[in-house]
Symmetry: C2
Subunit: 431 residues, 2 copies
């Protein structure tokens, strides 16, 4: 392939960085054919130059301070794979854009927290800011929302956005074990971090949802507006009850346009077993989009890991090499709306409620009365076995009701003397 | 939005054409924001100017002969929505590209038959040829393969590519009725054409598969190389037997890279009920892609209809308005390989076989002996009821074996005197 090489600098040589190098080496020919020119790694930055990584980087300039990459003359793009919303990643991205160098990043935290300012900086300097790898690396969802669905007024984006959570929930279902047990196992196998809170408390999914919202609705990424709940409180009993009702539990990031504004949240929800979303298991991610012309669609793929993330990073590089430059969030940064959020209180849906009660006469009557007083009508009740004065699981599903009203009812139910522990309330989504 | 309007001509004002006009009108503001400039319909061509279409085209130039659109000065793109591999559609696309005008089309037949020559012409003239709407309008699969997965050596592309067939198969399963009955009903409801053979005999799916193959493997679209089988011969008994075995029947277009070359076919296959592909029902389409870095992924969406197809056409227009131009099949036309195909004989898989036999002693032994002689080993046999000398259904699944060998065995089984009608053989796919 003729054409001047597209010269990049790569910051961060962890799993993903090494994956990018492997993809660029292994598929060099086809990448050059698709990019219209060869893609060449001119410089790299990593803490330890000596570490064995299984890739040949002998021809590259090595730099210790990542930020210095932004000063290398003649670069066509900087790839930031350091991670973290602040510190060296943020410094490098800012410095590169300031110097007019396009940036490709996999950093969702950075975009969730500083996306608007960085998009504006990129635009002011005429340098692209691309981040396909930041959300569900194996699914080209950024490109789909920014380009593929660009004709649509998007009504909703939902997704299984964290592979670790989906893996844990799948394992819990398949083995019947409880959360803590499965998490330990996942940590031992390397599927969960030593400090798992970013994943299991929903923060990682929330970062990703902020980005999807911005693209879908033309708003500034706004992490603080998000309601976030993780999966720590999900029990083996919840998994089983959901199954009996025909559902699976998924940690869903969801953003939808309503009359009152855009509602965003990350919460575990029930989705039908027989739906395409319900069939998404293990480390797979999925993104559901609804637009006014395209209707509804779902994409499933690997969320993270060396290969899928590298695939997404290199796709961005190929776009840049072809000269394709679109505003970071699809429309000019100045047009991105600020806020316009509303809370989840108005979402009307069926709900799942799991309460552990002491098996005394009248408990169910008390619960039912509270729900009636909040105008939440009961659809079904699952109660197994009886054991006077011992804790018993009661699982209730409701007819459609506004989430705010259901939450108020549950708060009151939680205060009943016969209720043990924190009730588990989850929305039932139907797709 | 500032910026010079992007001026288009639209040929064909059927369902899809009207949908494109609606999208451009209804979402004009957001389309302009995303395209960086307003998209304006300068001229249209349709057989009947007077027909009520529910859209305002009063400001447009009207042309009777579609080909004349290519001569209108100052056009930024021509949109071809006439359809058909030959005739006015082909003439218009050729004339437009020859004049250096970018073309957006939804015409899969045209691309399957003339894709290579048109891609070459487009490249020679420096005009883009775009066709997101040609395959699964609701899924941005062309963009995904050409750009999103561009870093990957693609190993396989499979898909449910025809909504009419998937609707019929779903209806058969849900109602237990037979093919002809459900087809009649689908025709009455407008879900199937009066002449349904393009859909139900797999031709439409084959056109689409040709295009996906070209993008995935860098080959020239080659309709003639394709093995095509439709769904006319699928019976209610097949649907039920598949269900009992844990599968659903889907008309699958599949293209995979093997040691001996690329294998392409359109055939009904069994896929697991519990898989994301198995959950794709009704008029929905789905595309499965496997790449060396990205791993496996699946996208589900509406295949056809006014809204999804319009969404895809307008997405192409927005890309063009943004100045994005990629070779039609992702790499220069001169690099597209010719052929390199091999037949389905070498595909190793589990198989499903349904034979109707006269219930006489020794029939099953004869069938089993033939399979043994061809080294195809039996996994399971389903036989219901007994009725001496009356036709009885025998359903057999095999252990993994090469398709060629299984087909030979079945050809011999078909000749047995106790076998009534044509045996139904289908591959069992596992995703």
């Amino acid at each position: 392939v003729a054409g001047k090489p597209f010269r990049i600098a790569l910051a961060g040589l962890g799993t993903v960085g090494v994956g990018v190098v492997k993809a660029l080496h292994q598929n060099a020919g086809l990448i050059a054919a698709r990019a219209g020119r060869p893609v060449e790694i001119a410089a790299v930055s990593a803490r330890n130059k000596k570490k064995k990584r299984g890739v040949d980087l002998s021809g590259c300039t090595w730099v210790t301070d990542a930020k210095a990459l932004a000063e290398i003359p003649g670069l066509d793009a900087v790839v930031e794979l350091i991670g973290g919303a602040e510190g060296p990643a943020h410094d490098l991205v800012k410095a590169s854009l300031k110097n007019g160098i396009p940036v490709v990043t996999a950093n969702k935290a950075l975009l969730a927290h500083h996306g608007y300012r960085l998009a504006k900086l990129a635009e002011d300097k005429g340098a692209a800011l691309k981040y396909e790898a930041a959300v569900a690396g194996g699914i080209p969802v950024i490109k789909s929302l920014r380009e593929g669905f660009a004709a649509n007024n998007i009504k909703a984006v939902y997704g299984i956005l964290n592979g670790t959570c989906n893996y844990i929930l799948t394992e819990m279902r398949e083995t019947g074990r409880d959360f803590a047990d499965v998490l330990n196992d996942a940590q031992a196998k390397g599927y969960a971090e030593a400090d798992p809170s970013f994943d299991i408390d929903g923060v990682d999914a929330a970062h990703k949802l902020c980005i999807l919202s911005a693209l879908a609705f033309g708003v500034r990424p706004d992490f603080k507006s998000l309601k976030i709940s993780g999966i720590r409180h999900i029990t083996a009993r919840d998994i089983l009850a959901a199954q009996e009702l025909g559902f699976r539990i998924k940690l869903l990031g969801s953003a939808r346009r309503t009359d009152k504004g855009i509602v965003q949240s990350v919460e575990p929800c029930l989705v039908p077993i027989a739906s395409p979303m319900g069939a998404v298991e293990g480390v797979y991610n999925a993104v559901f989009v609804e637009g006014d012309f395209v209707g509804t669609g779902l994409s499933v793929g690997r969320g993270a890991g060396e290969g899928p993330t590298a695939s997404a990073v290199v796709a961005d590089l190929i776009d840049l090499a072809r000269g394709f430059c679109v505003p970071a969030f699809g429309i000019p940064a100045a047009s991105l709306k600020k806020g316009g959020w509303t809370d989840t209180g108005g979402i009307v849906s069926h709900f799942y409620l799991h309460v552990v009660v002491l098996d005394r006469p009248g408990v169910l009557a008390d619960i039912a009365a509270i729900m009636r007083d909040h105008e939440v009508s009961i659809e079904a009740v699952l109660q197994r076995g009886r054991d006077p004065d011992k804790p018993v699981s009661v699982v209730i599903t409701s007819h459609p009701a506004p989430q705010g009203r259901v939450e108020k009812a549950v708060a009151q139910i939680a205060k009943l003397r016969s209720v043990a522990g924190r009730p588990c309330l989850m929305r039932i989504e139907n797709f």
